[in-house]
C-alpha cells in the first residue's frame, strides 16, 4: 500500500492535537462542535487505515495464498506491505474494537441505571440525593425518558440562592444542548485511538465551558464564577473524601478564569487550517483505499 496509509495513521492524532489549540480561537459551542468532528474524523481514519493495513499485510500470508488461491507474485507487486505490519495492524484493531465495545457497554449500563433515578415521568425534574460531597449531574433522557438533574444535598447547602440558580442553569444547558452526545462521540473516539485522549479531555472542558456560558446568560458571569468556586471549594470539606468525585487538574480554576475574562470572540478563520488538514486526510484515505482496491484486483484478476 502506498505511503499515504502510513501518513493517515500519523496525521490523525496530529490533527486531533492541533484541534486542542482551537480553544483560543473559538467560543465554547463552536470549539466543542469542531473538536468533536475532528475526533470522529481522526478515529475513523485510524480504524480505516488499520483495516487497510491489516488486509494488505495478511493477504500475503501462506493461509491466504492457499485459501483464496492468491497469486503471491501479483500481490507482491501491487502491495509492498511487510506481513508483520499486517499482523500488528490486526492486533491494534482488535484492541481498539475491544476498548470501544467496553466503553459502549459501560455507557449503556450507566444510562440504564441513571434512567431509574427519580420519576421518569417528570421532565426537567430535580432529583435531590443525600450525599456529603457536592455533586451535580445532568442525566440525559434515555429511551423516551426525559432528561433530569440530580444534585446532592451537600451541593444545595453549599450555595446561596443566586449560585444555586447558576448551577441549575448550567445543568439545564447540558440537557438542552444534548452535550452527552458530543461526550459519547469523544469518548468513543478516544477508546478507538488512545492518542486522542487529550482531545477528549479538551472536549469535556469545552462542554463545561459551554454550559457555564449559558448559565452566565441568565445569572451573569460573576455569579456563575462564584457558584463554581463555591462548589469546588465544598469538595475540600473534610467530611467529603469521595472517590467518585472526578478529578481534573486545574479545570475549575480555568473555567472560573474564563468567566472573569471577556468571552472569546469567534474567529472562524482559525478553522481554515484544520479544515485544510482534514481535507488532506480525507484525500489520503481515499488514495489508500484506491490502492487497496488495486490489491483486491490483484487477488481476483
Amino acid at each position: 500500500v502506498r505511503i499515504t496509509i502510513y501518513l493517515c495513521l500519523l496525521a490523525s492524532p496530529l490533527l486531533a492535537l492541533l484541534g486542542c489549540q482551537l480553544r483560543r480561537y473559538l467560543p465554547p459551542p463552536s470549539a466543542a462542535k469542531t473538536m468533536t468532528t475532528l475526533a470522529c474524523a481522526a478515529a475513523t481514519a485510524t480504524v480505516w487505515g488499520l483495516i487497510l493495513l491489516a488486509s494488505a499485510g495478511l493477504s500475503r500470508t501462506g493461509e491466504a495464498v492457499s485459501l483464496l488461491g492468491v497469486n503471491p507474485g501479483a500481490v507482491n507487486t501491487a502491495d509492498p506491505v511487510p506481513r508483520w505490519f499486517g499482523a500488528t495492524a490486526v492486533l491494534l484493531l482488535a484492541i481498539a474494537l475491544a476498548r470501544a465495545v467496553r466503553f459502549l457497554w459501560v455507557r449503556h449500563a450507566v444510562a440504564r441505571l441513571a434512567g431509574r433515578v427519580g420519576d421518569p415521568a417528570s421532565p426537567g425534574q430535580l432529583v435531590v440525593f443525600t450525599a456529603t460531597a457536592p455533586h451535580a449531574f445532568a442525566i440525559p433522557g434515555h429511551r423516551g425518558t426525559p432528561g433530569r438533574i440530580a444534585v446532592s444535598t451537600a451541593m444545595l447547602r453549599a450555595l446561596d440562592a443566586e449560585e444555586r440558580r447558576a448551577m441549575l442553569a448550567h445543568e439545564r444547558a447540558h440537557l438542552r444542548h444534548r452535550h452527552h452526545l458530543y461526550q459519547a462521540a469523544a469518548c468513543l473516539a478516544a477508546a478507538l485511538n488512545p492518542l486522542l485522549r487529550p482531545l477528549r479531555t479538551e472536549i469535556d472542558f469545552q462542554l463545561e465551558r459551554w454550559a457555564d456560558e449559558t448559565a452566565a446568560e441568565t445569572t451573569g458571569r460573576r455569579v456563575t464564577a462564584r457558584s463554581l468556586a463555591r462548589a469546588a471549594l465544598a469538595t475540600l470539606h473534610p467530611t467529603t473524601p469521595d472517590a467518585t468525585l472526578g478529578f481534573t487538574r486545574h479545570a475549575v480554576p480555568d473555567r472560573v478564569r474564563a468567566l472573569q475574562q471577556a468571552p472569546v470572540p469567534a474567529r472562524p478563520a482559525a478553522v481554515v487550517p484544520v479544515a485544510l488538514m482534514a481535507t488532506g486526510l480525507a484525500a489520503m484515505l481515499g488514495d489508500a483505499t484506491l490502492a487497496f482496491v488495486h490489491i483486491l484486483d490483484a487477488l481476483h484478476p
Binding site: F103, V106, R107, V110, A114, G118, D119, G124, Q125, L126, V128, F129, T130, A131, P134, A136, F137, A138, I139, A150, S152, T153, L156, R157, L159, D160, A161, E162, R164, R165, M167, L168, R172, R176, H179, H180, Q183, E208, R222, A225, R226, L228, A229, R230, A232, L233, T235, A243, T244, L245, G246, F247, T248, R249, H250, A251, V252, P253, V256, Q260
Partner: protein, 120 residues
Amino acid sequence: MPRREPGELEQAVLAALWAHGRPMTGPEVHAELGPAGQNLAYKTVLTVLTRLHGKGTLQRHRVGRAHAYTPRADAADHAAAQMNAVLARGGDHVAVLERFVSRLAPDDEAALRALLTERD
C-alpha cells in the same frame, strides 16, 4: 425576564427548601428565591409548592394560617442509593455523566478563596 424553561421553577423551589433544611412557608420560599423571584408572583410559588406536595415530593404541616413545607428525606435517601449505583458502575474511567465540579488540586484552593472574598 427571559422565558422560563420547563421545570425551572420547580427546581428552584425544591433546591431552596433543601438548602435550608427546615420547614418553610410560601412567603419564605418566595423571599428566598431572591433575584430569580423578582418578577415572580407569590401566587406562582404557592402553586408550585402545592403541585410538589401533590406529587408527594414535599410534606407540609399547618403553621397558624399557612402551610410550612419540607422536602421528603426518604426520597433523597432512596435517590442516593440509586445514584451510588450509577457512580459505582460508571466509575471515573468513563465519563458518562457531566458533572458540575471536579476535585480540586491543593494549589487551586487559594485562588478560588481569593475570588470569593474579593466580591465583598
